[in-house]
Amino acid sequence: MGKYIGNRILPLGTQFIVMRQVWPSFVSQWRHSAVISTGPLQPTDMSPVYQVQIMYRLGERPEVVVVSPQLRDRPGQPIPHVYPGKRLCLYLPRANEWTPAMPIAKTIVPWACDWLYFYEIWHATGEWLADGVHPREKHKKKRRRHRPTRAVTETRRESHS
């Protein structure tokens, strides 16, 4: 996933400690260069208890998946606002809506709860009703490095010879 280039990055240890303080129902593990936290979110009294896992490597984008229950598409409509592998899309990366200076416990986790609330609403209505600007579909496509066309390559060879 993407890396952030910036001055402020909360140490992994801080992320770990804050997670444990704010979300005691989450089990957080600090392994090598990553903190993995798994725990329950249940946005409403009617919702199932979702087990959510957040994997964070220092300086990279946190990856959030719903371990259970399995997220389901609607007939003819795939789940919106997910990256490949059903990783939740919780914010606009290019707008720096989340940076490694922010505690995951106070941003990513509540945003995941919010996402789950609106996921249920989407299931019933077919509309994603969460407020705000959302990444467009193009973020789901693989990034391709620009490769010059064959013709251009040959022209360059000719000009160099």
């Binding site: 409403t44 106070k106 941003t107 709860c113 249920e120 609403i121």
Partner: protein, 378 residues
């Protein structure tokens, strides 16, 4: 506590909204009142052959009980009105004459001549207001006092006894709880900008929802469908004072099922006149009765499942299917809009248990785009 913090409150809101979206509106109600008073004026006015009998028009049926429901597949309501004529029924040669006189007065009046339905109904004269409602005027004669009446039946040329006023009083008593009690028990904080569905008494809602369920499940077999009076009476007989619609319906269904006899059929007698078997059509059609019995058992299972299934979407979809209604999704959309408003004003938090709440403890849910601890920058 917010509505989505309580499953019972959430379900009840959807049930109220589903029924409210199918019932006559305040405006339409007032319009109907104005119109039937006008009809009363014509029937009792100069030149009317009925004027000498002081015709008095009053609502009956679902309009009187507050359980109106738009008929399946139509935009127009059927509203029942009684037109009481101060004449001894024994002095009338044939019962059908009362209906003929009513048709004659309305049919010869400039305003109503094109609105009176040409088709002849057995017990009423229908006046149509396109795209709004039909007013079914049922002429009758008093039978002593206390609201007892004689109703003419054109098809059988017989007089049938009735007492809609007593029935309505009985229904009101059976409704048990008052609106004050219902509202007091709710104790739910309002969502900003979200207008909750208007409240009726739980028994009224149960009747509306059961009638709707009947319309949906017997859609292809309208002749086998139990009548509204049977449904209304069964609901009122078996209700025992619950203050939520969900609990009221649970009670009514469980109690009806417990009353289903092992052999023979359920008999639904008029609670204010035991001589009248409101369910006599089940006596002539065993198949219709069996369909009702099987389907009400199935409804009970589906109803109890609402307590167990998880997900706002699952609950709302089940209710939408039971009543063939788009209202549950509308409730969710409106609540979602309120949640967005709360996020924008930083009033929503996530509790340590992982629940959304309006609280003073827990983690604030600020939407992305708000600098952590700073101002919104988009």
């Amino acid at each position: 506590m917010l509505i989505f913090e309580s499953r019972p409150a959430f379900i009840d809101e959807i049930l109220h909204k589903t029924a409210a979206d199918l019932q006559i509106t305040e405006t339409q109600h007032k319009k109907a009142e104005g119109r039937y008073h006008s009809i009363g004026d014509v029937l009792g006015g100069n030149g009317s052959i009925l004027a000498a009998f002081n015709p008095l028009i009053s609502p009956q049926g679902s309009l009187l009980l507050g359980t109106t429901l738009r008929p399946d597949g139509r935009r127009e309501y059927d509203l029942d009105l009684l037109c009481c004529l101060a004449i001894d029924f024994r002095k009338i040669q044939r019962p059908s004459m009362l209906l003929e006189w009513t048709e004659s007065v309305l049919g010869s009046h400039g305003t109503y001549e094109t609105m009176v339905e040409r088709k002849r109904f057995s017990r009423c004269v229908r006046v149509r207001y396109h795209d709004e409602f039909h007013l079914d005027i049922v002429p009758c004669c008093p039978d002593g006092g206390n609201g007892a009446i004689w109703l003419p039946d054109r098809d059988s040329e017989e007089w049938r006894p009735g007492n809609p006023k007593s029935f309505a009083e009985w229904f009101q008593i059976r409704a048990r709880v008052t609106m004050l009690e219902v509202m007091a028990k709710a104790a739910i904080e309002p969502l900003p900008g979200y207008e909750p569905a208007d409240r009726k008494l739980p028994l009224q809602r149960v009747v509306q929802l059961l009638k709707r369920w009947r319309d949906v499940i017997f859609r292809d077999e309208p002749d086998a469908a139990p009548s509204s009076i049977v449904i209304t009476t069964l609901a009122a007989l078996h209700y025992s004072g619950q203050s939520s619609v969900y609990d009221a319906m649970s009670q009514v269904l469980a109690s009806i099922i417990a009353a289903l006899p092992k052999s023979g059929r359920l008999q639904v007698l008029n609670p204010v006149d035991a001589r009248e078997d409101l369910s006599e059509s089940w006596g002539t059609s065993q198949a219709a009765y069996r369909k009702f019995a099987t389907r009400v058992i199935k409804l009970d299972e589906q109803w109890r499942a609402l307590c167990e299934i998880n997900g706002q979407d699952q609950i709302s979809e089940r209710i939408a299917q039971l009543f063939d209604s788009a209202s549950p999704a509308l409730v969710l959309k409106a609540q979602a809009a309120a949640v967005n408003r709360m996020k924008q004003s930083s009033t929503l938090r996530v509790r340590p248990s992982g629940r959304l709440a309006v609280a003073t403890t827990g983690t604030i849910l600020d939407p992305p785009g708000r600098h952590f601890g700073g101002k919104v920058h988009r």
